[in-house]
Symmetry: C2
Subunit: 482 residues, 2 copies
């Protein structure tokens, strides 16, 4: 039997933390004389009480986690925290049912950014702040999990990054605090810098803080129905810059802050990510200017940079309807969303690192096919990629694609239009956000979707955020029999 006490204990502590975080939106609503502040008080008390009970009931002397417990913790975090994070939407504005409240909370903590609320402009400021906080906390959570747990769990080739993290499971917790602290500092610094930049570019204070929270987590929630279209000018370029930062490996930025910039600039993943972004932007800008003869090159460039960056890194803010650009840019944007950002960042999707491994492996395979008697080692960053990493990345890619296909079929079963089913599966399993289809509300919300579709999309966000394989491991019967 797996001892779930240390797992439940950690989750309990984080539930209490989540409750404490609700004091911020409570204060904001109170300061604006909005009676909605009470819902945050109630939710916060519920979190504090239930969380404390869990912590109290699961005390144990065991401080380190074994592999099973690491899997359970990772899965448990993104099931239990969204439950508690949903309370304010349920007890307070916009007073939606359990499905929509949970959907919004999961969309926040998984940094997906699809909203279930059809009218954002009328919501209290506290509710918006809470949505922003959920994304910001979810982004922080995934960086820490990606650096500490995924390499040990060997999820989709993440063991390649083990030497930079932890080698022995017993050492996880003590060193976790060091890494978590430094990463949190970098994350906070980037967020503050983002908010200050937004303010300097003319955003009001609240909008700046809110959008900084959802930009630096590559979450993509907005507090306007027009999404980022409400700030069409320089703020979009600033948001693109900070989205790119948030899509880089945070360990490299920790090294940068320690005074060593080379690891960041020499990282093959970072270089490939920036190169691919540049290509996609250049091709779409040329297409729109030369083929379609769009006028106002500066406007086209800014709009393209913003949309390519936010859809690739998966924040998914919208500015107008990108489908209007034509099939080709739209197809590129959909494909870019399947790439995502760098490993160890807040971004989701398949990620640059895995494509680099896939390309190397396929090239090695092709060489092996025409020269069967020679050995072609697969190398990345000057290090040989062992077969285990390659096999693990390929298993990840396969599982991701099959889950994506199944999710499309399942969403179609709930009655969604094929286009909605396709982009809905894409938006959720790759945690990007925007969905195109006849059932989508004017502000991009899914409130009109059947309940079954919403739950399938919740499953998609959960699978995508936890890199699919970590969930399947826990669903495997043998996992529980050890």
């Amino acid at each position: 039997m797996i001892d779930i006490r240390p797992v439940a204990n950690t989750i309990g502590k984080l539930v209490v933390t989540l409750g404490a975080a609700m004091s911020l939106p409570m204060l904001v609503d109170y300061a604006h004389d909005d009676p909605n502040w009470k819902s945050f008080l109630e939710s916060g008390i519920l979190c504090a009480v239930i969380g404390s009970l869990i912590v109290f009931a699961t005390r144990s002397n065991e401080k380190s986690l074994n592999l099973q417990q690491a899997f359970l913790l990772t899965n448990g975090l993104w099931i239990v925290l969204p439950l508690f994070g949903a309370l304010p939407f349920f007890l307070g504005a916009p007073h939606v049912g359990f499905t929509d409240a949970f959907f919004e909370s999961m969309s926040g903590l998984s940094t997906t950014g699809t909203t279930a609320f059809p009218s954002l402009d009328t919501l209290p400021k506290g509710t918006h702040l809470w949505r922003g906080q959920l994304q910001w906390l979810g982004g922080l959570g995934i960086i820490v999990v990606a650096m500490i747990f995924l390499p040990v769990m060997k999820v989709g080739g993440m063991q390649f990054f083990r030497s930079e993290g932890f080698d022995t499971l017993g050492k996880i917790l003590p060193r976790a605090f060091d890494i978590a602290r430094e990463t949190t500092l970098v994350y906070v610094f980037i967020t503050v810098a983002c908010a200050v930049t937004f303010i300097m570019l003319g955003m009001n204070g609240f909008d700046a803080v809110f959008h900084a929270l959802t930009t630096c987590s590559t979450g993509g929630f907005s507090n306007y129905d027009a999404s980022f279209g409400a700030y069409p000018g320089a703020p979009q370029l600033a948001a693109s810059f900070f989205t790119i930062l948030a899509a880089l490996p945070f360990i490299r930025m920790v090294q940068l802050v320690r005074g060593d910039a080379m690891p960041l600039f020499e990282d093959v993943q970072v270089r490939a990510f920036l190169r691919w972004l540049f290509y996609a932007i250049a091709v779409i800008v040329l297409y729109r200017l030369v083929w379609l003869g769009a006028e106002n090159p500066f406007h086209v460039m800014r709009e393209t940079v913003f949309n390519v960056v936010t859809l690739t890194a998966g924040s998914g803010f919208g500015t107008g309807d990108v489908t209007q650009w034509g099939s080709f840019p739209f197809a590129i944007l959909i494909m870019m969303g399947m790439i995502g950002g760098c490993t160890g960042s807040t971004t989701c999707s398949i990620k640059v690192f895995r494509y680099l491994v896939l390309f190397k492996a396929v090239r090695a395979q092709i060489r092996r096919m025409h020269s069967p008697h020679r050995v072609f080692p697969v190398m990345l960053e000057g290090r040989p990629l062992d077969r285990e990493v390659v096999g693990s990345v390929m298993a990840y890619f396969t599982t991701f694609m099959l889950s994506f296909g199944l999710l499309i079929v399942a969403l179609a079963l709930t009655g969604l239009h094929p286009r909605t089913a396709l982009t809905g599966a894409w938006a959720t399993i790759a945690n990007i956000g925007p969905i195109w289809g006849p059932e989508v509300s004017a502000n991009g919300a899914v409130d009109q979707f059947p309940t079954a579709s919403k739950w399938l999309m919740v499953i998609g966000m959960f699978l995508g955020r936890l890199e699919v394989l970590s969930v399947l491991v826990v669903l495997h019967p043998r996992f529980w029999r050890q």
Copy 2:
């Protein structure tokens, strides 16, 4: 340098054979007093002359092929033969340009079945017969190539089947004749049985032969604009039956004819294929009857069986518009098309065998993740799957998916609607046939597509038919430097 003489010699002989095959449509048109017979005479003479010149110019004593030559031959066959097969469409009815003629010929020889001709009902019988023959010959070609060359070329895990084929390259040619002869006999027998069945079910002789040629090659060309909708009754069930036969591994049917039925019934690939077909049919029938409340269960069942079977095995005959069944059946049909039939059959797409390997490999990966210190061998059919096969299948799946994505983007670049780009890439790279989208003509033809789209689709058919990797090997610069 690679000695291309034996390769060109074989191709030359097949060009002569192709020319000889043109005598059939010539006779048919002559018998119907259609002046179109001359175009087949001209094309046939051209094939005979040029083919003979090639054979004459490339005489050599070398009878066996090395690995490089096997790759060149496989690629060369599906480039040169479509060129010569296109002559009758260019010199005779429907007198289309080079692009459409080559498209139709490639669609035939690759057993894709997408047509470039908007008005099939008005074409001469000889032209139709030639379209049928192209598919039939293409189907025969791929079975032989899949049995003889792909295992030695190690394309996408095909080396798993090597023990059943050939171990030494030097022995390819002598044994190739044995296998090719027996397989051809089985293929001819199935085609004759199919034609006879069609006649007994009320088809006229010509339609029966034509549809037998395109059914047993899982090609899917029709001589009616209404496709198989022209024969709505029992012929559809018969076509479903023969399509399933054509999607089974032909080596198993050779064994069956030799008196040993067990290998066929015990083949895990065959069992999985039939099981998945059954599930898909059952789910769609239930959905249409129970959810949508469709009346006439027998009609629904027949229509569903026919469409699931032809889209999965990739013949892709149409009966009415399956998009009218709703998103869910449509999404399932699209996914089933991504499966295809069994290895060593006339079908294309990813194929059942590779999914079985992928599932096994992903399961082994998941077990390895939660029990890192135990060894989980990957087994299939009671034999261990070595890492090379698993890696090769995964490389195939990755390359197929990436090519599919790139093809969608490229088709969108030519201006096609996103739906057309998506289903057009699907129909061609998986060699299925039907395309849905606003640019498609009433009979499903691509004649209104931009020329660039047609050529991209030709590339898609070529890549799909040759299992993507065999093409990439030849495109690799190092291939030529050996």
